[in-house]
Protein backbone atom coordinates (compact mmCIF):
# COMPACT_ATOMS: atom_id res chain seq x y z
CA UNK A 1 0.00 0.00 0.00
CA UNK A 2 1.62 3.22 -1.12
CA UNK A 3 -1.18 5.55 -0.07
CA UNK A 4 -1.05 7.43 3.19
CA UNK A 5 0.90 10.45 4.33
CA UNK A 6 4.62 10.13 4.73
CA UNK A 7 6.45 11.97 7.48
CA UNK A 8 10.04 11.67 8.54
CA UNK A 9 11.19 12.64 12.02
CA UNK A 10 14.81 13.68 11.82
CA UNK A 11 17.45 16.38 11.72
CA UNK A 12 19.34 17.96 8.82
CA UNK A 13 22.76 17.17 10.25
CA UNK A 14 22.23 13.48 10.97
CA UNK A 15 23.80 11.04 8.51
CA UNK A 16 21.35 8.33 9.61
CA UNK A 17 18.42 10.59 8.79
CA UNK A 18 19.95 11.25 5.38
CA UNK A 19 19.57 7.60 4.46
CA UNK A 20 15.76 7.47 4.24
CA UNK A 21 15.71 11.00 2.73
CA UNK A 22 17.85 9.80 -0.16
CA UNK A 23 15.67 6.70 -0.60
CA UNK A 24 12.48 8.79 -0.61
CA UNK A 25 14.08 11.06 -3.21
CA UNK A 26 15.02 8.07 -5.39
CA UNK A 27 11.40 6.95 -5.27
CA UNK A 28 10.04 10.51 -5.76
CA UNK A 29 7.94 10.17 -2.63
CA UNK A 30 6.89 13.49 -1.12
CA UNK A 31 7.15 13.69 2.66
CA UNK A 32 6.88 16.09 5.53
CA UNK A 33 10.20 16.55 7.29
CA UNK A 34 9.66 17.00 11.01
CA UNK A 35 12.89 18.33 12.43
CA UNK A 36 13.84 17.65 16.00
CA UNK A 37 15.53 20.40 18.00
CA UNK A 38 19.02 19.41 18.97
CA UNK A 39 19.20 18.54 22.65
CA UNK A 40 15.54 17.66 23.13
CA UNK A 41 13.19 14.91 21.98
CA UNK A 42 9.65 15.58 20.86
CA UNK A 43 6.61 13.75 22.24
CA UNK A 44 6.03 12.33 18.78
CA UNK A 45 9.54 10.88 18.63
CA UNK A 46 9.27 9.32 22.09
CA UNK A 47 5.90 7.84 21.21
CA UNK A 48 7.00 6.59 17.79
CA UNK A 49 10.29 5.04 18.88
CA UNK A 50 9.94 4.13 22.56
CA UNK A 51 12.62 1.42 22.37
CA UNK A 52 15.43 3.70 21.17
CA UNK A 53 14.06 7.27 21.27
CA UNK A 54 16.23 8.02 18.23
CA UNK A 55 15.90 9.55 14.79
CA UNK A 56 15.17 8.79 12.00
CA UNK A 57 11.61 7.54 12.29
CA UNK A 58 9.46 7.18 9.20
CA UNK A 59 5.73 7.58 9.73
CA UNK A 60 3.69 6.07 6.92
CA UNK A 61 -0.03 6.58 7.48
CA UNK A 62 0.99 7.17 11.10
CA UNK A 63 2.70 3.77 11.44
CA UNK A 64 6.29 4.18 12.63
CA UNK A 65 9.30 2.46 11.05
CA UNK A 66 12.61 2.83 12.92
CA UNK A 67 16.32 2.18 12.24
CA UNK A 68 17.72 3.94 9.18
CA UNK A 69 18.72 0.93 7.05
CA UNK A 70 15.46 -0.85 7.89
CA UNK A 71 13.56 2.27 6.80
CA UNK A 72 15.47 2.30 3.51
CA UNK A 73 14.47 -1.32 2.81
CA UNK A 74 10.87 -0.51 3.75
CA UNK A 75 10.84 2.41 1.29
CA UNK A 76 12.28 0.18 -1.44
CA UNK A 77 9.65 -2.52 -0.87
CA UNK A 78 6.68 -0.20 -0.44
CA UNK A 79 7.35 1.99 -3.48
CA UNK A 80 8.78 -0.85 -5.53
CA UNK A 81 7.23 0.32 -8.78
CA UNK A 82 8.69 3.83 -8.65
CA UNK A 83 12.25 4.71 -9.36
CA UNK A 84 15.22 2.37 -9.46
CA UNK A 85 15.61 -0.58 -7.09
CA UNK A 86 17.48 0.42 -3.98
CA UNK A 87 18.47 -3.12 -3.01
CA UNK A 88 20.07 -5.35 -5.66
CA UNK A 89 17.82 -8.10 -7.02
CA UNK A 90 20.09 -11.15 -6.73
CA UNK A 91 20.06 -12.79 -3.26
CA UNK A 92 23.84 -12.97 -3.06
CA UNK A 93 24.26 -9.30 -4.02
CA UNK A 94 21.59 -8.39 -1.45
CA UNK A 95 23.51 -10.36 1.18
CA UNK A 96 26.71 -8.51 0.28
CA UNK A 97 24.95 -5.14 0.49
CA UNK A 98 23.53 -5.98 3.92
CA UNK A 99 26.83 -7.43 5.12
CA UNK A 100 28.80 -4.33 4.18
CA UNK A 101 26.14 -1.98 5.53
CA UNK A 102 26.42 -3.73 8.91
CA UNK A 103 30.23 -3.50 8.70
CA UNK A 104 30.00 0.22 7.98
CA UNK A 105 27.89 0.89 11.07
CA UNK A 106 29.68 -1.49 13.43
CA UNK A 107 33.29 -1.00 12.39
CA UNK A 108 33.91 1.79 9.88
CA UNK A 109 31.73 4.46 11.49
CA UNK A 110 33.04 3.56 14.95
CA UNK A 111 36.59 4.14 13.61
CA UNK A 112 35.57 7.46 12.09
CA UNK A 113 33.94 8.61 15.31
CA UNK A 114 36.91 7.66 17.48
CA UNK A 115 39.24 9.82 15.43
CA UNK A 116 38.19 13.25 16.80
CA UNK A 117 38.00 11.76 20.32
CA UNK A 118 41.65 10.67 20.23
CA UNK A 119 43.85 12.48 22.72
CA UNK A 120 47.47 13.10 21.90
CA UNK A 121 49.72 11.90 19.09
CA UNK A 122 49.75 8.17 19.97
CA UNK A 123 45.98 7.84 20.13
CA UNK A 124 45.49 9.91 16.98
CA UNK A 125 47.96 7.74 15.07
CA UNK A 126 46.18 4.58 16.25
CA UNK A 127 42.73 5.96 15.33
CA UNK A 128 43.98 7.00 11.91
CA UNK A 129 45.54 3.56 11.31
CA UNK A 130 42.27 1.86 12.29
CA UNK A 131 40.27 4.06 9.90
CA UNK A 132 42.75 3.50 7.09
CA UNK A 133 42.45 -0.25 7.56
CA UNK A 134 38.66 0.01 7.41
CA UNK A 135 38.91 2.20 4.28
CA UNK A 136 41.15 -0.36 2.59
CA UNK A 137 38.57 -3.05 3.32
CA UNK A 138 35.81 -0.89 1.84
CA UNK A 139 37.93 -0.05 -1.21
CA UNK A 140 38.08 -3.77 -1.97
CA UNK A 141 34.36 -4.16 -1.18
CA UNK A 142 33.60 -1.38 -3.66
CA UNK A 143 35.57 -3.11 -6.41
CA UNK A 144 33.83 -6.43 -5.66
CA UNK A 145 30.30 -5.01 -5.43
CA UNK A 146 30.42 -2.43 -8.24
CA UNK A 147 31.88 -4.85 -10.81
CA UNK A 148 33.24 -1.97 -12.85
CA UNK A 149 30.14 0.19 -12.52
CA UNK A 150 30.07 3.66 -10.91
CA UNK A 151 28.32 2.71 -7.65
CA UNK A 152 28.25 -0.14 -5.12
CA UNK A 153 24.77 -0.84 -6.47
CA UNK A 154 25.86 -0.69 -10.12
CA UNK A 155 24.59 2.01 -12.48
CA UNK A 156 22.50 3.78 -9.87
CA UNK A 157 23.05 4.52 -6.19
CA UNK A 158 21.52 1.99 -3.86
CA UNK A 159 21.36 0.68 -0.32
CA UNK A 160 25.08 0.30 0.23
CA UNK A 161 26.00 3.59 -1.45
CA UNK A 162 23.50 5.29 0.84
CA UNK A 163 24.73 3.41 3.91
CA UNK A 164 28.28 4.71 3.43
CA UNK A 165 27.73 7.93 1.52
CA UNK A 166 25.59 9.49 4.25
CA UNK A 167 28.76 9.89 6.35
CA UNK A 168 30.72 11.87 3.73
CA UNK A 169 29.67 15.25 5.14
CA UNK A 170 30.91 14.36 8.61
CA UNK A 171 34.02 12.77 7.16
CA UNK A 172 34.88 16.08 5.48
CA UNK A 173 34.27 18.00 8.71
CA UNK A 174 36.53 15.58 10.61
CA UNK A 175 39.22 16.08 7.96
CA UNK A 176 38.96 19.86 8.31
CA UNK A 177 39.06 19.97 12.08
CA UNK A 178 41.61 17.15 12.48
CA UNK A 179 43.85 18.37 9.68
CA UNK A 180 44.23 14.82 8.34
CA UNK A 181 43.06 13.42 5.03
CA UNK A 182 40.73 10.55 5.92
CA UNK A 183 39.65 9.48 2.43
CA UNK A 184 42.90 9.53 0.48
CA UNK A 185 42.79 9.41 -3.36
CA UNK A 186 46.22 7.76 -3.31
CA UNK A 187 45.23 4.99 -0.88
CA UNK A 188 41.60 4.48 -1.88
CA UNK A 189 41.26 5.75 -5.46
CA UNK A 190 38.02 3.93 -6.30
CA UNK A 191 36.31 4.98 -3.09
CA UNK A 192 37.42 8.59 -3.52
CA UNK A 193 36.02 8.82 -7.04
CA UNK A 194 32.83 7.09 -5.88
CA UNK A 195 32.46 9.66 -3.08
CA UNK A 196 32.42 12.52 -5.56
CA UNK A 197 29.91 10.77 -7.82
CA UNK A 198 27.70 9.99 -4.82
CA UNK A 199 27.65 13.58 -3.57
CA UNK A 200 26.68 14.79 -7.03
CA UNK A 201 23.77 12.41 -7.40
CA UNK A 202 20.48 14.32 -7.76
CA UNK A 203 18.87 12.30 -4.95
CA UNK A 204 21.75 13.14 -2.60
CA UNK A 205 22.60 16.77 -3.36
CA UNK A 206 19.49 18.34 -1.81
CA UNK A 207 20.01 16.51 1.50
CA UNK A 208 23.79 16.49 1.91
CA UNK A 209 24.63 19.37 4.26
CA UNK A 210 27.30 21.85 3.23
CA UNK A 211 30.61 21.14 4.93
CA UNK A 212 30.88 24.70 6.30
CA UNK A 213 27.41 24.59 7.84
CA UNK A 214 28.10 21.16 9.31
CA UNK A 215 31.47 22.26 10.69
CA UNK A 216 29.82 25.20 12.43
CA UNK A 217 27.18 22.86 13.89
CA UNK A 218 29.88 20.43 15.04
CA UNK A 219 31.69 23.21 16.88
CA UNK A 220 28.48 24.08 18.68
CA UNK A 221 27.55 20.56 19.77
CA UNK A 222 31.03 19.39 20.70
CA UNK A 223 31.61 22.50 22.74
CA UNK A 224 28.92 21.36 25.17
CA UNK A 225 29.74 18.56 27.67
CA UNK A 226 28.31 15.23 26.50
CA UNK A 227 24.96 14.25 28.03
Amino acid sequence: MTTGEVKLIGAWASPFVMRPRIALNLKSVPYEFLQETFGSKSELLLKSNPAHKKIPVLLHADKPVCESNIIVEYIDETWSSSGPSVLPSHPYDRAMARFWAAYIDEKWFVSLRSFPKAQGEEETKAALAQLEEANAILEKAFIDCSKGKPFFNGDNIGYLDIALGCFLGWLRVTELTGGHKLLDEAKTPSLSKWAERFCNDPAVKPVMPETAKLAEFAKKIFAKPHA
Binding site: A51, V65, I70, A102
Partner: protein
Protein backbone atom coordinates in the same frame (compact mmCIF):
# COMPACT_ATOMS: atom_id res chain seq x y z
CA UNK B 1 36.90 -33.76 -4.61
CA UNK B 2 34.26 -32.37 -6.99
CA UNK B 3 31.77 -30.13 -5.19
CA UNK B 4 28.22 -29.75 -6.47
CA UNK B 5 27.62 -26.00 -6.70
CA UNK B 6 24.12 -26.32 -5.19
CA UNK B 7 25.63 -27.79 -2.03
CA UNK B 8 25.13 -25.81 1.13
CA UNK B 9 27.80 -25.82 3.78
CA UNK B 10 27.54 -24.23 7.19
CA UNK B 11 30.59 -23.42 9.28
CA UNK B 12 29.27 -23.26 12.81
CA UNK B 13 29.64 -24.16 16.45
CA UNK B 14 27.25 -26.44 18.32
CA UNK B 15 26.83 -24.18 21.36
CA UNK B 16 26.51 -20.87 19.51
CA UNK B 17 23.06 -19.26 19.30
CA UNK B 18 24.10 -17.51 16.08
CA UNK B 19 25.06 -20.79 14.46
CA UNK B 20 21.94 -22.63 15.69
CA UNK B 21 19.61 -20.02 14.24
CA UNK B 22 20.97 -20.79 10.76
CA UNK B 23 20.35 -24.50 11.31
CA UNK B 24 16.78 -23.70 12.34
CA UNK B 25 16.22 -21.68 9.15
CA UNK B 26 17.71 -24.32 6.85
CA UNK B 27 15.63 -27.00 8.55
CA UNK B 28 12.42 -24.96 8.19
CA UNK B 29 13.19 -24.67 4.47
CA UNK B 30 14.09 -28.35 4.16
CA UNK B 31 17.49 -27.47 2.71
CA UNK B 32 20.09 -30.20 3.19
CA UNK B 33 23.45 -28.91 4.37
CA UNK B 34 26.86 -30.07 5.43
CA UNK B 35 27.75 -28.86 8.90
CA UNK B 36 31.38 -28.10 9.64
CA UNK B 37 31.98 -27.80 13.39
CA UNK B 38 34.53 -25.07 14.06
CA UNK B 39 36.87 -24.65 17.02
CA UNK B 40 36.48 -20.96 17.80
CA UNK B 41 39.43 -21.02 20.18
CA UNK B 42 41.68 -22.21 17.37
CA UNK B 43 40.25 -20.85 14.13
CA UNK B 44 40.71 -22.94 11.03
CA UNK B 45 42.37 -21.68 7.87
CA UNK B 46 39.05 -22.30 6.10
CA UNK B 47 37.14 -20.03 8.48
CA UNK B 48 39.74 -17.27 8.18
CA UNK B 49 39.62 -17.57 4.41
CA UNK B 50 35.82 -17.51 4.19
CA UNK B 51 35.26 -14.72 6.74
CA UNK B 52 38.42 -12.60 6.69
CA UNK B 53 36.61 -9.48 7.92
CA UNK B 54 35.15 -10.83 11.17
CA UNK B 55 36.77 -14.29 11.46
CA UNK B 56 33.57 -15.60 13.11
CA UNK B 57 30.98 -18.29 12.69
CA UNK B 58 28.43 -18.82 11.32
CA UNK B 59 29.42 -18.73 7.66
CA UNK B 60 27.11 -20.14 5.02
CA UNK B 61 28.66 -21.30 1.77
CA UNK B 62 26.33 -21.64 -1.22
CA UNK B 63 27.38 -22.01 -4.86
CA UNK B 64 30.91 -21.80 -3.47
CA UNK B 65 30.30 -18.25 -2.17
CA UNK B 66 30.53 -17.42 1.54
CA UNK B 67 28.02 -15.30 3.46
CA UNK B 68 28.65 -14.11 7.02
CA UNK B 69 26.68 -12.43 9.82
CA UNK B 70 23.72 -14.45 11.06
CA UNK B 71 20.99 -11.91 10.27
CA UNK B 72 22.38 -11.45 6.76
CA UNK B 73 22.49 -15.23 6.31
CA UNK B 74 18.88 -15.62 7.52
CA UNK B 75 17.69 -13.06 4.97
CA UNK B 76 19.74 -14.76 2.24
CA UNK B 77 18.12 -18.10 3.08
CA UNK B 78 14.66 -16.54 2.91
CA UNK B 79 15.50 -14.78 -0.40
CA UNK B 80 16.91 -17.95 -1.96
CA UNK B 81 14.41 -20.62 -0.86
CA UNK B 82 10.88 -19.28 -1.15
CA UNK B 83 9.00 -22.12 0.56
CA UNK B 84 7.94 -21.68 4.21
CA UNK B 85 8.72 -17.96 4.37
CA UNK B 86 10.55 -16.82 7.49
CA UNK B 87 10.02 -13.09 7.06
CA UNK B 88 6.52 -11.63 6.73
CA UNK B 89 5.43 -10.63 3.21
CA UNK B 90 3.95 -7.27 4.15
CA UNK B 91 6.63 -4.52 4.05
CA UNK B 92 5.54 -3.02 7.36
CA UNK B 93 5.48 -6.36 9.17
CA UNK B 94 8.84 -7.16 7.59
CA UNK B 95 10.31 -3.89 8.85
CA UNK B 96 9.02 -4.67 12.35
CA UNK B 97 10.56 -8.16 12.23
CA UNK B 98 13.91 -6.72 11.19
CA UNK B 99 13.63 -4.10 13.93
CA UNK B 100 13.05 -6.64 16.70
CA UNK B 101 15.79 -8.96 15.41
CA UNK B 102 18.28 -6.09 15.55
CA UNK B 103 16.98 -5.10 18.98
CA UNK B 104 17.53 -8.61 20.31
CA UNK B 105 21.08 -8.87 18.97
CA UNK B 106 22.29 -5.34 19.63
CA UNK B 107 20.44 -4.47 22.82
CA UNK B 108 19.16 -7.53 24.69
CA UNK B 109 22.11 -9.82 23.96
CA UNK B 110 24.60 -7.15 25.00
CA UNK B 111 22.66 -6.27 28.17
CA UNK B 112 22.24 -9.93 29.18
CA UNK B 113 25.98 -10.56 28.79
CA UNK B 114 26.68 -7.70 31.19
CA UNK B 115 24.98 -9.70 33.98
CA UNK B 116 27.61 -12.43 33.82
CA UNK B 117 30.39 -12.24 36.38
CA UNK B 118 28.92 -9.24 38.19
CA UNK B 119 27.98 -9.04 41.84
CA UNK B 120 25.87 -6.93 44.16
CA UNK B 121 24.57 -3.58 42.96
CA UNK B 122 26.29 -3.85 39.59
CA UNK B 123 24.56 -7.17 38.98
CA UNK B 124 21.17 -5.79 40.03
CA UNK B 125 21.56 -2.87 37.66
CA UNK B 126 22.54 -5.18 34.78
CA UNK B 127 19.52 -7.40 35.47
CA UNK B 128 17.18 -4.39 35.62
CA UNK B 129 18.54 -3.05 32.34
CA UNK B 130 18.02 -6.42 30.62
CA UNK B 131 14.48 -6.70 31.96
CA UNK B 132 13.60 -3.21 30.74
CA UNK B 133 14.53 -4.29 27.23
CA UNK B 134 12.75 -7.65 27.50
CA UNK B 135 9.53 -5.86 28.41
CA UNK B 136 9.27 -4.66 24.81
CA UNK B 137 9.33 -8.27 23.59
CA UNK B 138 6.85 -9.32 26.28
CA UNK B 139 4.40 -6.78 24.84
CA UNK B 140 4.94 -8.06 21.30
CA UNK B 141 3.87 -11.58 22.23
CA UNK B 142 0.45 -10.68 23.63
CA UNK B 143 -2.23 -12.63 21.74
CA UNK B 144 0.29 -14.53 19.62
CA UNK B 145 1.69 -18.05 19.70
CA UNK B 146 4.97 -16.86 18.24
CA UNK B 147 6.49 -13.49 17.31
CA UNK B 148 5.71 -14.58 13.76
CA UNK B 149 2.03 -15.13 14.60
CA UNK B 150 0.67 -18.65 14.17
CA UNK B 151 4.02 -19.96 12.96
CA UNK B 152 7.69 -19.56 13.78
CA UNK B 153 9.24 -16.62 12.02
CA UNK B 154 12.36 -14.49 11.77
CA UNK B 155 12.08 -12.94 15.21
CA UNK B 156 11.39 -16.31 16.87
CA UNK B 157 14.49 -17.75 15.27
CA UNK B 158 16.63 -14.84 16.45
CA UNK B 159 14.98 -14.83 19.90
CA UNK B 160 15.98 -18.45 20.56
CA UNK B 161 19.03 -16.68 21.97
CA UNK B 162 16.80 -15.59 24.85
CA UNK B 163 14.91 -18.88 25.28
CA UNK B 164 17.86 -21.25 25.16
CA UNK B 165 20.83 -19.16 26.16
CA UNK B 166 19.77 -16.30 28.43
CA UNK B 167 17.03 -18.30 30.17
CA UNK B 168 18.95 -21.57 30.33
CA UNK B 169 21.90 -19.97 32.05
CA UNK B 170 19.93 -18.32 34.85
CA UNK B 171 20.96 -20.94 37.41
CA UNK B 172 24.62 -20.65 36.47
CA UNK B 173 24.50 -16.86 36.49
CA UNK B 174 22.73 -16.99 39.85
CA UNK B 175 19.71 -14.83 39.07
CA UNK B 176 16.35 -15.31 37.37
CA UNK B 177 16.76 -12.62 34.73
CA UNK B 178 13.45 -13.60 33.09
CA UNK B 179 11.07 -14.60 35.92
CA UNK B 180 7.63 -15.92 34.93
CA UNK B 181 5.91 -13.37 37.22
CA UNK B 182 7.23 -10.47 35.13
CA UNK B 183 7.35 -12.27 31.78
CA UNK B 184 4.39 -14.68 31.49
CA UNK B 185 4.12 -14.20 27.70
CA UNK B 186 7.78 -15.01 27.14
CA UNK B 187 7.43 -18.17 29.24
CA UNK B 188 4.35 -19.18 27.28
CA UNK B 189 6.27 -18.57 24.05
CA UNK B 190 9.16 -20.79 25.24
CA UNK B 191 6.65 -23.61 25.84
CA UNK B 192 5.38 -23.13 22.28
CA UNK B 193 8.95 -23.29 20.98
CA UNK B 194 9.63 -26.49 22.89
CA UNK B 195 6.58 -28.11 21.28
CA UNK B 196 7.91 -27.33 17.80
CA UNK B 197 9.68 -30.15 15.94
CA UNK B 198 12.25 -27.95 14.19
CA UNK B 199 13.23 -26.25 17.44
CA UNK B 200 13.48 -29.57 19.26
CA UNK B 201 15.77 -30.85 16.55
CA UNK B 202 17.97 -27.78 16.28
CA UNK B 203 18.72 -26.54 19.80
CA UNK B 204 21.73 -27.83 21.73
CA UNK B 205 20.92 -30.68 24.15
CA UNK B 206 20.32 -29.08 27.56
CA UNK B 207 22.65 -31.08 29.81
CA UNK B 208 25.60 -30.93 27.47
CA UNK B 209 24.92 -27.25 26.84
CA UNK B 210 24.83 -26.35 30.53
CA UNK B 211 28.03 -28.29 31.17
CA UNK B 212 29.76 -26.41 28.36
CA UNK B 213 28.59 -23.01 29.62
CA UNK B 214 29.63 -23.79 33.21
CA UNK B 215 33.07 -24.80 31.93
CA UNK B 216 33.42 -21.64 29.89
CA UNK B 217 32.29 -19.37 32.71
CA UNK B 218 34.76 -20.92 35.10
CA UNK B 219 37.52 -20.35 32.56
CA UNK B 220 36.45 -16.76 31.94
CA UNK B 221 35.98 -15.75 35.56
CA UNK B 222 39.06 -17.46 36.92
CA UNK B 223 41.17 -16.04 34.08
CA UNK B 224 43.27 -13.15 35.37
CA UNK B 225 42.23 -9.71 34.05
Amino acid sequence: MAERSEEVKLLGMWASPFSRRIEIALTIKGVPYEFSEQDITNKSALLLQLNPVHKMIPVLVHHGKPISESLVILEYIDDTWQNNPILPQDPYEKAMARFWAKFIDEQICVAAMKVVGKTGEEKDAAVEATRDLLKFLEKELVGKDFFGGKNLGFVDIVATLIAFWVMRTEEIVGVKVVPVEIFPEIHRWVKNLLANDVIKKCIPPEDEHLRYIKDRMVKLIIKPA
